[in-house]
Symmetry: C2
Subunit: 126 residues, 2 copies
């Protein structure tokens, strides 16, 4: 029962955050793209296509495409591994750091609201 309430509270923080990010006109990233971006920024390097494909249990082309998209958005960068020139290392960028920092702030704002402020700037109905 308490767990149920906790689940609902957690989901509601999630809702407020995602709604705020959509309203802010942030790029409409898919779960795959977001998981890739967060992994590159928050887990220790090196990050390769193969490693991410295994971590996320998706195909390599799916990773390549997500990297393509995130590169277009300027949130990530490719760099050939000089120790093994077959490998591509995925690296952070300033723009990606800014985006994720702001995203973190959205989450914290959504947590702080807890029933009043909701980071959407709208009345509490939504």
């Amino acid at each position: 029962m308490i767990v149920e309430i906790s689940d609902l509270q957690a989901l509601d923080v999630w809702r407020r955050t995602v709604v705020a990010s959509v309203r802010c006109d942030a790029p409409d990233l898919s779960a795959r793209q977001m998981s890739l971006l967060l992994t590159v920024y928050l887990t220790p390097a090196p990050h390769t296509v193969r490693g991410l494909a295994e971590l996320l249990k998706v195909t390599k082309p799916a990773i390549t495409r997500a990297v393509d998209r995130l590169t277009e958005l300027g949130m990530i960068r490719r760099k050939v591994d000089e120790n093994d020139r077959r490998s591509v290392l995925l690296q952070r960028t300033v723009k990606g750091s800014v985006f994720l920092r702001e995203y973190g702030e959205l989450i914290v704002a959504a947590m702080g609201g807890d029933g009043e402020g909701d980071a959407t700037g709208l009345p509490p109905k939504y």
Copy 2:
């Protein structure tokens, strides 16, 4: 400084949750689709296309398409409003409830998993 750490902790919970959902082979929903689904389930009815378009600041066709997709996935349902037959009410389904309940469990697991320590000895807020 403390805020920075808090942001990073929040982002890491987010990362663990999204990575887990991708690994679980959950549907690869976009931020828009997820925000729509969460809003229908966690905010008071009625939910209409127009209302959601305004809430999320996206076009009505974008909402129609997201509803199409979520309907195909069985996570949401359309119902004509009998008081104003122009309107379509968006309603919950069992499948959607199950999906979101499991998603909430993923978030809670990501919070408890590791790295939540803040050296205060106090339990995490959620």
